[in-house]
Structures are given as C-alpha cells and as structure tokens.
Symmetry: none
Subunit: 316 residues, 2 copies
DNA sequence: TCAATTAGGACAAAATCCGTCCTAGTTATC
DNA sequence: GATAACTAGGACGGATTTTGTCCTAATTGA
C-alpha cells in the first residue's frame, strides 16, 4: 500500500475531507517532503482537477469549492458548431495529440443531455471533412510553449534553420501564430534582423523562454499581422506578379490573402518572396485568371518549363 | 501529461467517461503497452476502486457505477485543442451562424479557471488559421435538418438541380455529409437512380423529412463513403488519369483522396467524373509529379490550351 | 476449433521519484 | 518596514519503480 499513485489519491481525499490544508500539514500526513507535496499538487492540476492555492502567510491548498461543469445547456446549433469544431481540429491535426481531442469530446458528452449527446455522436460519425492535413512532426509540440510566450509577452530564444542554411540562434518577440496549408508559422519581431519576420515551426530546432518581456504593438492584429507574415516569409527571391482579376476572385483562389494585394491600373500587384521558383510556378499555373510576371526572370523560366512539361503530357 | 501517477488516474477518468473499454483500447489511448494497462488496473483495485472486468472474446473493463471522481476540468492540452477546434470552425465557416460559436466559447470560458481562460483567449487572439473558407450561402442552413435525418435514419425528399439541368425531385436515404474545398455534399442512396450518389448542398433547393426510415449499411464508414462520394459525383464526363508517383505523394498533393487510386504497373489510376475539363486541367497543372491522361480527349485539349496560355504568360 | 480477450510471471533497461539544497515571490502581522 | 510563514519551482544524484517484451494459461463467443 504505497507508491506515488496511492499518495496522490490520498492527497485528493485529504483535500476533499478537510476543506483546506497547508503544504507542511499535507507533507506530514502523507509522510513525504514538502517539495513532493508540491509535485503531487501539480499532478492533480495536470489531471484537470482544479486546486486553488492561497499564497502568503496563512496560505494553503484547497479544492475549488463546489466547482462543477453545470449541466451545460448547449442549443442544437451550438452542439453542431462545437462538434464540427472538434472534428475540424481532428482532421487538420491541429493539436499535437489526438488524445486531447478525444478526451475533450468525452468530457463534454458526459455533461450533455442524451439528446445532444446523440447529435454530437452523429456529427462525429457521419460527417467527413476533407481538409489539408498538417504535416505530422515536431511542429505541434512547440505550439504550447510559444503560446505561453505570446500570452505572457516574453521573448524567446530560438534556433532556426532557414532554407538550406545552417541553424542560427535568434531572439524573437513572438506576436502570433499562423497555420497555413498544413504548416505552422510564428511571426514576431526578430532581434537579429530588427524587423517583423515569420518562421516555420518545423524548422525551429529549439525554443527557450526568456525572462525578458516585450510589448506587442497595440494595432498588431489579424490583417496587419497577416500581410506582414507573408511579406516577411523567409525567401531569397523577391517576386512581383500582377493578377488581372478583381479582389474577390483573387481572394477566393488564393485563400483569403487578398489583403496583401495592391490595386493597380491593370490588376492587383502581388509582392512576396520565395525559395523555389518551381513550386511557385506550379501554384501559379492553377490560377483561374490571367497574370503577368514582373520579376524575377527565374520565375518566368520556371513557368515556361512547367508549361512545356504540361504540353508534352497533353500531346502524349 | 507524463508519469505513471497521472496515467493511472487518467485511466480512471477514461473508464468514467466511456462506460466500458477493452485493454487494447485503453493501451492505445494512454500510449502504453497492454501489459501496463493490466498493471494499472491492478493498482486501481489496490486503491480500493472497484473495477469489474469481463473476460472472454468481447471482454473489457468497467468502473462500478457510482464511483465518482471530483469534478474534472480541462487540462492545458485539452484547452488548446478545444480552442483550436472552435477557431477552425469559425475560420471554415462550418456552422451557419458564427453566433453559435461565440456563445459556445463564452459558455466554456465561464467555467474555466482564470489560467485556462487566459490561455483560451490567447489562442483566439493570437492564432490565425488560413483555411479554405466555405462559400456563404444556404448550404449551411440545411446541415441541421440533414443531420437529423441521418441520426434518425429517415429518408428525405429533395429538389436537386444538377449541373445545367432543371430541378428534379428525388427521394434519398442520407448516409453521410462531406465537406470538401469549401462546399458541403451529402452522400446517400438515391431512390431515383437506384445507387449511391453525392449531392451538392448548395444545389439542393428544398428538403423534407419523410416518415419512411431506412437502414444504413453497417460497413458504410469513412473509407467506403469517401471513395463512393468521389466516384458518384455528378458529372458528365468519365475521366481516367494515371499518376506517375507513389501513394504517399499523391495523397499529399490531392488531399487524402488516395483511397480511390488504383495501383497499376506505371503508377496510380485515378478514375472520376467531371463537368468541366477546363477546371480539372487547371487543377492537374499544379500537381508536383507527372501524369498521363487516358480519357477523355477533351481533357487533353483543355490541358493543352491551358499550357499554351501559361507559355504566353511566361514569354511575355 | 478459432479468434479475441483477460491474467499474470520473469527480467533487464529505462524512466521516475524523492529528498536535499537552493532562490524568489506573496501576504499577514508586528 | 521588517519579519515570519507560506507557496513556487529549478537542479541534482542515487534509490526505486516502471515498463516493454516475451512467455504461458484461462475464458468466452462464434
């Protein structure tokens, strides 16, 4: 009758029966060190059991009084929306562990009335979403720490391996995260380059939270963030293309990136950067409208090659 | 989420939320070996927690009813997953009303401790998902009724306007719903055509739940559903293309539709239907691998035209 | 009989747990 | 203000536990 599991559960029982106990007291009762009590409390928190702590002279630990998920009444629409959201997250593989999603679903279903529960089940069982899936990899792991940094407005030190380059240490003030066609990006102020930059999370070898905090520009939100993200994408070649179409069509074809398009006399100017002209050419080739490549010449060549390849296939 | 202590209690929670689970299932969910699950079960029994086990072919573990853990909250990971899900739903415009999503979020935040609440906020504020958005329109409205029909296994009577054709009344047994590149589809058994068919929800003019019920084929799930959905897409022209690549690359480029690709000597055979060769040609032109068009000839022409247009642009 | 499940022994490698020693915050009281 | 009593949590190393793998046995339904 020993082992940490037993003692953690005992701690839970102690907190349940006595309303409130100090760390020293708990340590004595469990026969372990105070330090270990703190570790047990952490374990309970990790399990999702809400323990409140009071600091200071007369501090101590207690279970959140009478807390429970009230038989939450979701409406039909809300259940649908919620279930669709979870389904989407699962399909996109947004969270690093599918386990977390299943467990959220189970917990929510537990507090739903039977009627809604069956509806939630119906959504999960009969709806299929075809979405671009995230690449599996380490990127998801880093979401948590980065989110912490953003939340607390603290700088991070990262090791970043840019395209075909050796990893380099940088200090970055993380402003926001972006998910785009299967990949996660972080955008923020790069202390090395002294400007707003965007980093691919899967090229991020190491993250470390620094003590140093920063102030996020107040007007840094969605639109701005967004445009800058694409401008600031690591890439070697500056690209300029004029799209001969209207904003609406362009936005639809490109996935709502219309904010970075500058209207011109003969269309919309798209300025960006790229690493690979060939990839970009492939992407351009599926646009349902005309466009003109202003720069670079390499892109024209890449597009020409691609088109010639397509011609061969068509004539085969 | 690490350490045996936490995992043993997680097992407890799993048993509490799902009524009954097999050892294999538990092992998978906890990310440990089956043997270890047995050890955990033993640990729980030693703790005085009554776990009933059923041996034999369809055996499994259950928690004796009445055992209650203190109210659970979401863990950090779960909050992240949940928030990402809601964000994804919002971005995809999956639900017809954004109002439902906001209200779900508000309700959930209300029962979260401050720590988790701020994390949920951070997700909502600082993360941006770039996803293909659903076309706004009536399609979302019909999701609810159709889901009801699927849940209750009742046939529906629909008015469907196929591509460039007059609306026609059909009776359909709805099996499942599919969301793909911005559009909703319903697949099910069409009483008119006497086969599995897929319908675009935005071409659905009217839905009426019928009293008549049906039995969904038992093995109708994901994969099958899926393949059939694409085969059965309304379209006039049969298309056959051989993709010269491996399954993995194909799946990535096409968005996990690999299940409908048949391996052949020189690649993967893609059979489908289309209404518009030109659209298909545009889509084909961005594939990062070679392919051969077997049929129809119109598609070859369309691809040729498209390639010539691209050449002009490249030489400009 | 077969397939799928639970039950549990043995063992070596791997991971953990835990006390000890720190320093840093927080808060009520003197 | 200073102080005392508390929580918060990093680092470390040795003792301990845990865990995967490989076994064999029992149970049960088809």
């Amino acid at each position: 009758m020993s082992g940490p599991t037993v003692r953690v559960l005992s701690l839970l029982e102690l907190l349940q029966s006595h309303g409130r106990l100090s760390g020293t007291e708990l340590a004595a009762r469990l026969g372990v060190d105070k330090r270990t009590v703190r570790r047990y409390i952490q374990a309970l928190e990790q399990l999702g059991i809400p323990v409140t702590t009071e600091q200071g002279c007369d501090g101590g630990y207690m279970l959140v009084a009478g807390f429970k998920l009230p038989p939450m009444m979701f409406t039909n629409d809300e259940t649908l929306a919620l279930s669709l959201g979870l389904l989407a997250a699962k399909n996109l593989q947004l969270a690093d562990t599918q386990a977390a999603l299943s467990s959220v679903q189970a917990k929510l279903e537990r507090v739903m009335p039977a009627k809604l529960k069956s509806r939630a089940r119906a959504v999960a069982d009969s709806i299929k979403l075809m979405l671009p899936t995230a690449e599996t990899g380490a990127a998801g792991q880093q979401l948590g720490p980065l989110l912490d940094a953003i939340e607390q407005q603290r700088s991070v030190s990262i090791f970043y391996a840019a395209y075909q380059q050796a990893p380099e240490a940088r200090q970055v003030d993380p402003y926001g995260l972006l998910f785009r066609s299967g990949r996660w990006y972080m955008s923020g102020y790069c202390h090395l380059r002294k400007e707003l930059r965007t980093f691919r999370l899967d090229r991020l070898l190491h993250i470390e939270l620094l003590q140093q905090s920063f102030n996020r520009p107040t007007q840094f939100n969605s639109a701005e963030h967004f445009t800058q993200s694409l401008y600031g994408m690591p890439g070697n070649l500056d690209v300029q293309i004029v799209l001969h179409t209207d904003k609406h069509t362009a936005a639809q074809a490109m996935g709502e990136t219309a904010s970075m398009l500058k209207p011109q006399a003969d269309g919309l100017l798209l300025s960006t950067r790229t690493d690979s002209c060939y990839c970009l050419a492939q992407w351009l080739s599926q646009l349902p409208f005309d466009f003109s490549i202003i720069a670079p010449t390499e892109l024209k060549l890449a597009l020409q090659q691609h088109a010639e390849r397509l011609l061969q296939i068509a004539r085969h």
